[in-house]
Symmetry: C2
Subunit: 116 residues, 2 copies
């Protein structure tokens, strides 16, 4: 499960719509195809991409292929984003503390100038 593939899979509006639909519960290929004016082989290509990225799993029963969401792959994206936000916010915290320190120093210097 690689971030390249997960982000890549989600970079297409059709595949994101498939993921959103599967959040509501599993669906067959035919059901997934219904909202799209797209040839079935094209829709199948999208499903294959989602499968290879780990976002979707599917299983054939008779002539119907049922697809379901695999939340672990979505979680890898969440984890990566959370890590970036953590780093970003730590940096903002340090910046804020630095600004506070400068403000205190500035107030101290102003008081010293006044007393001369």
């Amino acid at each position: 499960m690689q971030l390249d593939h997960v982000f890549g899979a989600l970079s297409d509006a059709t595949r994101r719509a498939i993921v959103m639909r599967l959040c509501d519960g599993e669906a067959s290929v035919g059901e997934l195809a219904k909202p799209f004016e797209m040839a079935l082989p094209s829709l199948m290509k999208h499903i294959r991409i989602l499968e290879s990225s780990g976002l979707v799993a599917s299983e054939k029963t008779g002539r119907v292929r049922m697809c379901s969401l695999q939340t672990e792959a979505l979680a890898t994206v969440e984890v990566w984003l959370a890590a970036q936000r953590e780093i970003w916010e730590q940096r903002l915290d340090r910046l804020e503390m630095h600004v506070e320190k400068l403000k205190k120093e500035e107030r101290s210097n102003a008081r010293k100038r006044k007393s001369k």
Copy 2:
């Protein structure tokens, strides 16, 4: 700012590494290029993609172009993922409540059978 472009921008390992670096603070194009064994025009292409997706902003001062992270674009990905998780978890909650109900009914039926 479109999710297509944001997810697409993040689907490449080089661009994710750039984003991670910029979480630590802004950097020049030359600084960003240092960790990569890649021709500068190639690295510039990646930066342009990150800019067009809204993830990065840049500004030229003299001959140096400084790049900085724009967290709003990352936030759109977070928002989208949070929405999917919400739907997914609501579905699991309803499923859990249904299972609980079935278990209660099964216990009730078992008591009725015993009392006959």
